[in-house]
Symmetry: C2
Subunit: 242 residues, 2 copies
């Protein structure tokens, strides 16, 4: 009996996901973009100062020596930058992608333009939605986080990190786009390197920030569709420096 109930639940989930996929595809269909359904991940704990030292050293051009479990003595080693904070892994930059795929089961998508469909936006903070995006010969990590910066007022923060060095990251521009209910919100920026901490980017608010009411306006049946595009940073050359 339990088996049949579970089977029935799984079929319902599948129909629900298929329906969401179809709806997101309708909105972004003009560009024929790939729609990826991303389920939430509950973070075990949040330690905002965890990467302060890593951030400081990255800004000075040094690989992060800090780690939330122990000090990394080999400067070539990178701690696991996946926002699942209980992970004690550390390794070289080249193997970060395989670690994220194998250990954290994070999907990787191909294509210059994709749609990230985050489900279950109603879940309480803190919650993360994470995906990897392979494009222009590099891998990027997209993180959408629901977090309470002000108690009782959860907000959504979305950013894209290059799984590479800050110098490599400067060659790209990423765009996140929300489009629904006769409203459109676009955020364009240079991706940060995964060597800089995703926590710092979010706590600094240097990313796409949505309050709950705006997230509700852009979401459909509890799912938020974010169009993602990555280009080489020539797009910024037209912007005059102030």
């Amino acid at each position: 009996m339990l088996f049949f109930t579970q089977c029935f639940g799984a079929v319902l989930d599948l129909i629900h996901l298929r329906f969401q996929h179809y709806k997101a595809k309708r909105v972004f269909s003009a560009a024929g973009q790939l729609v990826c359904v991303v389920n939430p991940t509950h973070s075990l704990k949040y330690a905002p100062t965890r990467c302060a030292a890593a951030q400081a050293s990255t800004e000075q051009g040094i690989l992060p020596p800090c780690h939330h479990h122990e000090v990394v003595h080999d400067p070539q080693l990178v701690p696991c930058t996946c926002p699942l904070f209980s992970c004690p892994w550390e390794g070289h930059l080249e193997v970060v992608v395989s670690h994220l795929r194998q250990t954290h089961r994070i999907n990787i998508l191909q294509g210059a333009e994709i749609v990230f469909l985050a489900t279950d936006m109603h879940l309480p903070a803190p919650t993360d939605w994470i995906i990897m995006h392979s494009c222009l010969g590099h891998q990027f990590l997209l993180v959408l986080r629901k977090q309470e910066k002000y108690e009782g007022h959860p907000q959504f923060f979305a950013t894209m990190m290059l799984i590479g060095t800050p110098t490599q990251a400067n060659n790209f521009t990423y765009r996140l786009e929300l489009n629904r209910n006769q409203r459109r919100l676009k955020w364009e920026a240079t991706p940060r390197s995964i060597l800089e901490c995703v926590d710092s980017v979010i706590s600094d608010g240097d990313c796409l920030v949505l309050n709950t009411s705006l997230a509700q306006l852009f979401s459909d049946n509890g799912s938020l569709a974010i169009g993602i595009a990555i280009t080489t940073s020539k797009a910024h050359s037209s912007e005059a420096e102030m």
Copy 2:
């Protein structure tokens, strides 16, 4: 002596404004847009519930009967919707523009695309920056407000209202664009009618919202340049309804 000190101060202010105008023009020069320097206005008080009744009646297609000083018995009369709350004025929709110009000295600018340069972003909340924009045969009111929704955490809210009815407002789309430091943020939406309350739009967060750190990234020497464009709402026709 006091006269000369004041003259010197005025000349310095003029040079400072000219310099800000020049810098904003450099950023938005590609489009040859008109740059307008907008000085802040301190609101005397904030009464968030002031227009709740107006909002409710506007949604039902009735002109707002409420007023923050007294009940308006003539449904053809509109209270002063300028966010300077001490104003007891009320009048017909057709004379709102001349009231705002004459009584509140709000500038009016012509052109489909302009740059709104808000000065002195550091001033404490609550502060408003307001301008009128004449375009496509209608007048619009742009309001940028610095407000503390969460105590100790001021945020910036920007929205555009049509000085006209909600039905007329549905024919337009406005775009607000920030562009600096290799970051770009665009907000596109249908303007709300001035018969709906600007306070409600801002308290609902259904507008461009910037936290302080993001506002600092986009501002230059304490001034924030916002590119504004208004089009007829055909632009939204490509968006599939969900």
